[in-house]
Amino acid sequence: MNSRKTRRKLFSFFFQLPSVFLYTVFLIFPAIASLYYALLKWDGISEKIFVGLGNFSELLFSDRYFGTVLGNTFISMLAGILIQLPLALILAYMVFRTVKGFRFFQSAYFVPVVISATIIGLMFSLFFNPVFGPVNTLLKDIGMENLTQNWLSDPKIVLFSVILPGVWQYLGYYFIILLAAMQSIPKELIESAVIDGANTVQIFHKIIIPNIKGMIQVCIVINLTGSIKTFDIPYMMTQGGPGASSTFLSIYMYKEAFIDSSIGRGTAIAVCMLLLAIGVTVIVNLLFAWINRND
């Protein structure tokens, strides 16, 4: 009996070993190490100098770019939750209440999601090329020459140019999640509302929204943390330029740590990224807990 118990323990140990080992060494350990590196002045090779919170105060108070980078990240977050998610929600509802073409819309909207963000970034850098790109050509052809822009090099417009592709690409992602949530609402709820004479808009905010609130919350969290991490598309299109006008936290961290070899500063940016991600997650969850309580 005893040996069976030992065998069970041994089995449990060895079966969990690969995952626990890899996860601890390559994920948890770097996470802890990050907290330490962020307190150093270090180029990765020469001696480490402990500077306490110096990197953070430098970033927050005297850095040329960090404010811009935070601002860009913030705008990208806003674009996500104020434009992308509402659009996805409305489209999902429209398709949800559609019989003909349901499958087609469902697939068509999801196509950009499966393509790698790298390719999407490459495509949009072709579209937005000021000399050769079809966007400016189209504007000229329809007589709106005054709207043509240096999409990728004008600091005032470039942020828009690098945020738009992401909004476009992942619209279908949120669309699909919200559509699936709507489909899991019991049919009787909607049918009885129709019998009671509720119109489309009433059904939307009296039945649909309350029933998919949990999924909306999940989407908001994924969306915000996604904006905080964003790298591929803007890096592909502009590498964060000109200056820092299309730089986001990941790109800034990447440049500081791996191009300028400022390991300490880079890690401090990464820690800011982590804190911001945890912060918005907590805020959104608290907000929804409060909404749920007040219902």
Binding site: R7, R8, F15, Q16, P18, S19, V20, L22, Y23, V25, F26, L27, I28, P30, M94, T98, G101, F105, S107, Y109, V111, P112, V114, S116, A117, T118, L122, M123, F124, L126, F127, N129, F132, T137, L138, L171, G172, Y173, I176, I177, A180, T200, G214, I222, K229, F231, M236, S250, M253, Y254, A257, F258, I263, G266, T267, A270, M273, L274, A277, T281
Partner: protein, 275 residues
């Protein structure tokens, strides 16, 4: 036959839905038509269909981008990552879900899904440098496995908890050991969950740029996404060539999506399922 009148709001709805579908598909379509045109045609009449399809763009892109080599790299990294992640996470999830039912270890893994790799990448890369994994195939595969492990366990554990106990018990009574039970009973009946995890890891690894840029720089080892990145710098004004390259990279993915649409959607949206 009496013609049914279409309500105006339904008509408007369809117009909107179709317009959005066009917005979603047209950019790819544009890449498709451009891939068959001369550069001068693309610049002068960007929206015209190709009159005399220029297939040379494809042969040129195929050679310039060294597609076979890099596609093999991308496939090798992604498929290896899927195999290892699925095996390791299934093993751990089996123990967590059905033997030790340890909440603690599950919470320990759940922590990992809140830590984005971008936020810990610096020490991560320094460790890789220390143990000589930079610029190796093992290195990039390991990176893909590690970054997907926590999430895979996070979805697999609740899935395995739902499995019926009867089959497992019967196997144990028949004298199957734990390992055999795992291989012969648990893995086959967990197919659904494993497929979701597998697709998730496959797409994540296939679409990665961030980790590959940091781990691999040797020309022979780079992935398709890195090739894209390099091509952009070198051939930015050669629209025909780049469009053809993009089509070569996108078509296999689209075919995969069409064939396994349900699975792909499930894998990609697994992030929204609460465990």
């Amino acid at each position: 036959m009496k013609k049914r009148k279409i309500k105006p709001e339904i008509l408007i709805k369809y117009i909107v839905l179709i317009a959005v579908a066009v917005l979603m598909l047209y950019p790819l379509f544009w890449m498709g038509i451009s891939s068959l045109k001369e550069n001068s045609d693309i610049f002068a009449k960007p929206f015209a269909l190709p009159t005399d399809p220029k297939w040379e763009n494809y042969t040129l892109a195929w050679e310039t981008a060294e597609v076979p080599l890099h596609m093999l790299n991308s496939i090798l990294y992604a498929v290896s990552a899927v195999i290892f992640t699925v095996i390791f996470s299934a093993m751990a999830s089996y123990v967590i879900a059905r033997i030790s039912t340890g909440r603690k270890i599950y919470h320990y893994f759940s922590l990992g899904i809140m830590i984005p790799i971008n936020a810990i990448i610096i020490p991560f890369i320094l460790i890789f440098r220390r143990i000589d994994l930079l610029n190796t195939r093992q290195g990039i595969i390991l990176a893909f496995v590690v970054t997907n492990l926590a999430f895979s366990i996070y979805i697999l554990v609740p899935f395995m908890k739902e499995l019926p106990a009867e089959l497992e018990d019967a196997a144990m009574i028949d004298g199957c050991g734990r390992v055999q039970t795992f291989l012969r009973i648990i893995l086959p009946i967990s197919k659904g969950g494993l497929a979701t995890v597998g697709t998730f890891v496959l797409l994540n690894s296939w679409n990665d740029l961030f980790l590959s840029l940091l781990i691999i720089s040797k020309q022979d080892y780079i992935t398709l996404n890195q090739v894209c990145y390099n091509m952009k710098a070198q051939y930015v004004s050669d629209y025909g060539l780049i469009s053809a390259a993009v089509m070569i990279l996108v078509l296999p993915v689209l075919v995969f999506f069409v064939l396994f649409q349900k699975q792909v959607v499930k894998g990609m949206t697994a992030g929204s399922i609460k465990g």
